[in-house]
Amino acid sequence: MNLIAEQIETYKSIIETEGDTLLVNMGPQHPSTHGVLRLVLKLKGEEVVKIEPVIGYLHRGFEKLSENLTYIQIVPLTDRMDYLASITNELAYVLTIEKALKIEVPKKAIYLRVLTAELQRIVSHLVWLGTFGLDLGGALGGGSTLFLYCFREREIILDLFEEFSGARMMYNFNQIGGLRYQPPLDFFSKLKATLPKLKQAFAEYEEMLQENYVFKVRTKNIGVLEVSLAQRMGASGPVLRGSGLAYDIRKAYPYSGYENFEFEIPIGENGDCFDRAKVRILEMKQSLRIIQQALKGMPEGEVAIRPPVRVPTAVKVPAGETYMHIEAPRGDLGVFLVSDGTEKPYRLKWRAPSFSNLAVLPFISNGHKVADVMAILGSLDPVFGEVDR
């Protein structure tokens, strides 16, 4: 009898209870927190009563660092923000500086930027799809089948990037005023050869997920995000479009020649996990469409307006404020630059889409089961390099 009483005391101290709720701390090291997120869950049985994300484990002081580097030195650092979509980060930064300097880049550079940004979008969404499968406990695969399929396809594109820039993930590929190099001579033919493979793979995924009853059961009506809340939260990208608002910066504020390309904006209906997933899968197909158009219309010519810079202080931005936002794979990636006429930015604020998207999590996951929280988190697709900067 005494032993049992002792045991009860022990467990009381171990399991922190509040009424009949259980406080569970998930992360920062946890299989499905997509990096280093900590979630403090308050559970009632299996049901989530309260959820609080704790972020900042990957904070590298990016904005402070930028204030102490020159405009040219920052370009390779931007790769490290959203490490799954490096090129779009570079593009956002480079376009901001070009906007502030009011320079135009050659047409071939514009086309190549669009081409690579869309390839990058596919890469990023493939990683999302694979990890979303893992979060669901393996949509198609006890943990990892879909994940490995997605990475198999991603590898093809990364090989292409490697041919182009010599690096697989951190490219340092855009420069202020164009691109750093021409693509290798056989780049376009290789890319053309891979497109049918990708197309077939996407068709497989779409069939597999959209028509899959189990996938539907796990994602439909889970984590419903209303469109008005999504707007007020500043959620963007597939999260906002999944809620049913056809807002895409590529269409709304065309940058880098996106007005020359034809594509559709896929939207969802309810704003649940299924819609967000659907939007992303359809977006990959639209990206393929843009790539095909870019390949068809690829002009000849130079890719940069100036030879590569040799000194770090070569670029000086006139004093003023510049804001530029582009449609990154995760949404509205904005760069707010305050310059004071020197070679270093006075303040460089990154409006990271993952940050705003992740803030939605506590609003939409209450009342769901623990397993659903992971599905919702996966469908928001945060990347912690970008959330924590």
Binding site: L69, I72, Q73, I74, V75, P76, L77, R80, L140, G141, T145, Y149, R152, E155, D159, E162, E163, F164, S165, G166, A167, M170, N172, G178, L179, R180, Y181, Q182, P184, L185, E204, E207, M208, E211, N212, Y213, V214, F215, E300, G301, E302, V303, A304, P307, P308, V309, R310, V311, P312
Partner: protein
């Protein structure tokens, strides 16, 4: 009879999932068994660095001009200059690979094409100190194949590409 419909859909989705895995069961594995097979590296591979000597005269190309040290965003290059016979040399040259972000800016800005990236990526070390490449080790790295991106070539690479001539 919604549960009947559900059950049918359930079975159908199981079958479609089985179909995909079945198809993939007969595809060839994409794995490259690393130490036995190695993947073909791209010509522009960025992996580690080398300091070059001029193949004709056998002299070091680096003149110790500090440009790469100044442009490095990660501050991993440290060098000292000395002047012998009215020509600059790098007396010491340290490159800390553990902090390097492989952005290639140092290669891009080198006016003498003295520092290049080499296509040799098996650079893991047990001790962190060994990742600091000094001048001697950088010179030794010349034995590996170079990446095609070299400071003076970047300008050419931005221009309109010429189709390969018949001789080459």
């Amino acid at each position: 009879m919604s549960w009947m419909k559900d059950t049918f859909e359930l079975t159908g989705s199981f079958l479609s999932a089985f179909k995909v895995t079945w198809k993939n069961l007969w595809r060839k594995p994409v794995t490259i068994s690393y130490p036995d097979q190695k993947r073909v590296l791209s010509e522009r591979q960025r992996a580690t660095f080398a300091l070059l000597t001029d193949p004709k005269t056998g002299e070091e190309k680096c003149t110790g001009c500090y440009i790469c040290q100044n442009i490095c965003p990660a501050l991993v290059i440290k060098m000292e200059k000395e002047i012998i016979n009215e020509r600059g040399y790098a007396k010491t040259f340290y490159l800390d690979l553990s902090g390097c972000i492989f952005c290639e800016l140092c290669v891009q800005c080198c006016p003498q094409d003295a520092i290049v990236m080499v296509r040799h990526w098996e650079i893991a070390e047990i001790k962190k100190e060994n990742l600091v490449l000094d001048k001697k080790r950088l010179m030794e790295n010349q034995k590996y194949p170079f990446s095609t991106i070299i400071g003076s070539k970047i300008r050419e690479m931005q221009a309109v590409p010429k189709p390969p001539t018949a001789s080459s």
